[in-house]
């Protein structure tokens, strides 16, 4: 009944970057035992080495367009791009952690293993072609993060952050499994392209009267809830500020970009490949269509994502204004940025129906490609910018975790002109000012949303961006126009942190000036997804 595939049929080489990293991490756990406690820097170097190797291994698999492990895993441009984002993000995170962990007295070799496990989880998420893989990747990226959040175990804030993240994360996972179960119940498969084909039906149009429809709609809603928790979308964001504030800062930095990239990779995979054509209410338009006519309808989940995206952008940006702790402000800003990316996901839900002949329709999610490109470039820009911003916050942070208030930035331009200049650039990128990477990301997402006909949502996006300028510029004002009341040195401004800040700055600047670099990499992703489905 069950065919056992041969080793060659598994086609493992396209999954090599993720597999290498997961295996290396297991070995690293053991190797770390033999590294003396005062030389844990070796573990950090090994970690960076492994990440570089994974990055190189990712290059041949980048555009393979092949599936592995019985079509549960796929290596395409989307997966390759997510891998690049997260590996780069992880390298910057390791650079940030080395000195921070030491001076906070929480230097453990296991930290790097946990980080790598989480990274491999995100990599598997980017390549997931099956709901089972999405689930396992989700857990593989989350479980190490629960531990990492609670790593500062003598500080009750950190413990609190870990347990809050754990309870809500596990709650969200349960939602995901139940949603996946319902989707499986409706379609009889957990494979995303097969779910797509099951929904599209034989004549190319979804049977709305089908009793399986109710399972599909509830299932899709639960998957959105679960991944909404992971990417911190309103109203599933309650954990975010507390967890970000309590966790050690390098962990917060990684969580804000890594967990978000993973969550969005999963959401995009499920929505673009599995459920784009889930349309419940066609109205009368389909019956009265002439042959050759084309109409545009929203898919069943578009309105829900529309509302979540709007709420996330508004809530995140407005609450961030009232924050005085910069770490907490960046937490709310990260909620707001999730809203912009959700806007791109919502744009996928605009479906075009063409009547080819009597009882023969074609349905296409026409804006999936531009939305996908927008979301991925935004994630890339956000990764560099936000890690850079956290790097600067960290260099000002004292050993006991204080020193991250807005007033601690006063007069930074006089004490550390280069750091202040880079921080100002990161803030401009988070607002979305031209010549920064943040601008390119926002531009592509707004463009996709307008094409998909989400005009009101785009207007909300533009207006909330303007609001966000208020709190980002406030940091620039503090750095350049105010005088410092404190004169103490920035204890965290070590060479490693400096390297990290410079790498992040270079990324933000390069992708801001030459967006084609990223867009060329993505050029084939949309076409690949289309050929996969039909």
């Amino acid at each position: 009944m069950i065919d056992v595939p041969s080793f060659a049929e598994l086609n493992l080489e396209v999954a090599l970057p993720g597999i290498f990293l997961a295996l290396f991490t297991t070995v690293l756990l053991i190797v770390d035992l033999f590294i003396p406690k005062d030389r844990k820097i070796t573990t950090a170097h090994l970690t960076i080495g492994a990440l570089v190797v994974a990055f190189v291994l990712n290059l041949p698999a980048f555009n393979a367009g092949e599936t592995a492990m019985n079509e549960m895993f796929i290596a395409d441009a989307f997966a390759g791009f997510v891998n690049m984002i997260v590996i780069t993000g992880a390298i910057i995170t390791v650079l940030l952690s080395v000195d921070y962990m030491k001076r906070s007295g929480i230097e453990h070799g296991e930290f790097y293993s946990l980080l790598l496990f989480s990274v491999s989880g995100i990599m598997f998420m980017g390549s997931a072609n099956d709901l089972i893989v999405v689930f396992i990747a989700l857990e593989l990226l989350s479980i190490p993060l629960y531990v990492m959040a609670a790593l500062r175990h003598d500080d009750v804030k950190s413990e609190e952050s870990g347990i809050k993240y754990f309870i809500l994360g596990a709650f969200a996972s349960a939602f995901f499994v139940y949603g996946a179960a319902l989707i499986y119940g409706a379609t009889g498969t957990t494979n995303l392209p097969e779910i797509f084909r099951a929904i599209a039906g034989a004549d190319g149009i979804v049977a709305t009267e089908n009793s399986a429809m109710i399972y599909l709609v509830i299932g899709a809603a639960m998957v959105i809830v679960a991944l909404g928790f992971k990417v911190a979308a309103v109203p599933f964001h309650m954990w975010t500020p507390d967890v970000y504030e309590g966790a050690p800062t390098p962990v917060t930095a990684f969580m804000s970009v890594g967990a978000k990239a993973g969550g969005f990779a999963g959401l995009l995979r499920v929505m673009i490949i599995g459920l784009p054509l889930l349309v419940v209410n066609f109205g009368d338009a389909v019956e009265t269509m002439a042959i050759g006519e084309t109409i545009t309808v929203p898919s069943a989940w578009q309105t829900a994502l529309w509302l979540i995206a709007a709420a996330t952008m508004i809530f995140g940006n407005f609450i961030a204004i009232s924050q005085t702790n910069v770490k907490r402000m960046l937490a709310y800003s990260s909620i707001a940025h999730a809203g912009y990316i959700l806007m791109a996901v919502a744009a996928v839900g605009t479906v075009q129906i063409t009547k080819v002949a009597e009882n023969d329709y074609t349905m296409v999610a026409v804006y999936a490609e531009s939305a996908l490109n927008g979301a991925l470039v935004y994630l890339l820009a956000y990764t560099f910018t936000n890690l850079g911003a956290f790097a600067v916050v960290m260099s000002l942070e004292n050993n006991d975790g204080s020193g991250t208030m807005l007033d601690d930035f006063n007069g930074l331009s006089k004490r550390h002109p280069l750091t202040a200049a880079m921080m100002a650039f990161f803030m401009l990128s988070l607002i979305g000012v031209p010549t920064t990477a943040g601008f390119i990301g926002k531009f592509l997402i707004f463009d996709a949303a307008i094409q998909a006909g989400l005009i009101p949502l785009t207007i909300i996006g533009v207006l909330t961006s303007a609001v966000s300028a208020y709190y980002y510029v406030r940091i620039i004002v503090n750095m350049y126009l105010k005088d410092a009341a404190v004169t103490d040195e920035a204890v965290g401004l070590t060479p490693y942190v400096n390297y990290a800040t410079i790498v992040a700055f270079a990324g933000t600047l390069i992708f801001g000036l030459f967006p084609m670099l990223a867009l060329d990499l993505l050029a084939s992703s949309g076409a690949q997804i289309a050929t996969l489905l039909f």
Binding site: Y146, V147, G162, I163, A174, A181, G188
Partner: protein
């Protein structure tokens, strides 16, 4: 012969009970047990659907869910023990160091 709907309804009831437990219980261990109840409700639905479609995908999924749940237990209980050592309590209402 019990119909398909019965299994789905039972799993939905268990899932809702679990979700209510997570939101209403204040003891961290009980919250955690409620999460497990939710996961097992999903497992029940998966096995039932697997039988309906006479395929093994759902059952394979269940094995993975059980394995991952075990990993979650390991991490979750460790976190609860740590918080108990500092706070001498596992009531989640005492966790309010950060506000705003």
């Amino acid at each position: 012969m019990v119909g398909m709907e019965a299994y789905v309804i039972l799993s939905a009831v268990l899932f809702v009970l679990g979700a209510m437990g997570v939101m209403m219980r204040r003891n961290a261990i009980l919250v955690f047990m409620s999460v497990e109840l939710m996961l097992n409700a999903a497992n029940l639905a998966l096995v039932a659907f697997s039988r309906q479609w006479s395929g093994v995908d759902g059952q394979v999924f269940v094995f993975f869910v059980i394995t991952v749940a075990a990993a979650e237990v390991a991490v979750g209980l460790a976190l609860i023990v740590t918080i108990f050592r500092t706070k001498q309590s596992i009531n989640i209402d005492v966790l309010h160091q950060m506000e705003g």
